[in-house]
Amino acid sequence: MADLTGRGQRRAARYSAVALLRHGIGGGAWPRAWRTHEPKRSYQVVIVGGGVHGLATAYYLARNHGITDVAVLDKGYLGGGGSGRNTAIIRSNYLTPEGVRFYDRSLGMYERLAAELNYNVMFSRRGHLTLAHSDASLRTMRWRAEVNKLSGVDSDIADPDEVKRLVPFLDTSAGARYPILGALYHPPGGIIRHDAVVWGYARAADSLGVHLHQDTEVTGIDVVGGRVSGVRTNRGPIATGTVINCTAGWSTLVSALAGVRMPVQTFPLQAAVTEPVKPFLHTVVVSGTLHVYVSQTDRGELVFGASVDPFASYSTRGSLEFIEGLAGHVLELMPSLAQLRLLRQWAGLCDMTPDFAPIMGSTGVDGFLVDVGWGTYGFKAGPVAGEAMAECVATGRTPEIIAAFGLDRFEEGRLVAEKGAAAVGH
């Protein structure tokens, strides 16, 4: 039985080579990475959703603004939603200047995250190739490259020879069903260990005094006179003046508890992983035309992602037609993978917005904020989203870096138009 008082549980000790050596020789259990508590009757800030966005928001509230009376509630376990189901790709080669600036800040924060959190998040900067199979997509790549360069992001067009040099296993022959005419090459892009990001933020937030409550489902949000007064949970009511909806998949339903409507439709996105093989793929390869992206993890497995399923659903079951289509597309790109076996497939829920950009900041209800609508690109934005939401709560103002992503943009017709670079094949 876990001790729920928080007493007698040590704060996580600092990880270091010396600590590793000491534990290796001396044995004994490592201290738990974060503590468990009974929920208090009230908190200054309640965050709904214990994924990378919710945990990062809690961490930056405590670290940047000294607000530590914070609870993160999750109806399941930490990182069990989108944070544990994405394909862990990080990049900043977006199409709109506001998108590029935003994701580039996130990428920079990810690069420094291991040192900051004292947690190995295994960031692997390995380059990101977006293949062009037609003149039209090559033109869009050039456009993206120029927007990226103007914002100081390392991004350029690679010709088929350079693509072949970077990824020898790609079929770059002119006779391919979808010949490779070039690619957008983005050297700072890469992959990261997504669970480690969740655990690192959880551990760091806990050590600053944030309470993490797993298996704690929000069943209601109390609004009195247009202002949030508390949340109801399966573990009792909690009084609070500030609630942040940091959920993915469930953002419409959580917002509805506060009476806030969302321009969101939830679609599953399926992904799959192969058996591990020796390292041979050193970049992330993306094909929008073929609706697929491929990377090789540090363990040697190939991770395949795709576009969202063709119809809205909350189901996270994998489907046979998806895996058949995916395998066919992967073999179009790399025929030599034909003998490789798939280990498993899964689905995560993506909250799609009309303009493929997130919804962040205040709503019509005082004290109810959202950090939702993250579609297929939420994981790579975790650090910057957490930092911006924390600033939003602490100062009561919307930070400039997320000013374009407000809920009011739909009423005012200021959509962001990130569709061309946010994901594959939409």
Partner: protein
């Protein structure tokens, strides 16, 4: 794979159909306020449970149909020929 019972063609593979989305009521463009237009264009119920939606049989009879589907299980309960604007009950 889920089967969709097309009212004209019978049960067919869902891959033959195009998903159109929730069935909503289009407000009168002359009379609608900005807020009503915003709601109609962008905001969705996004129900986790039984929902009514419009599909298009693009590889079959090329007609629109209304479907009742459970969004947590993808179970389909019925499909009707009346896929107009909120007039199909």
């Amino acid at each position: 794979m889920i089967l969709l019972p097309c009212p004209w063609c019978g049960p067919r593979d869902a891959g033959e159909f195009g998903y159109v989305g929730e069935i909503g009521v289009r407000p009168d463009p002359e009379a609608a306020t900005t807020e009503q237009w915003r709601d109609y264009l962008y905001f969705r119920q996004n129900v986790a449970g039984w929902t009514r939606e419009r599909w298009y049989h693009r590889m079959g009879c090329r007609r629109y149909l209304a479907v009742q589907r459970h969004t947590l299980t993808n179970e389909v309960r019925s499909a009707s020929q009346h896929a107009g604007q909120g007039d199909d009950s």
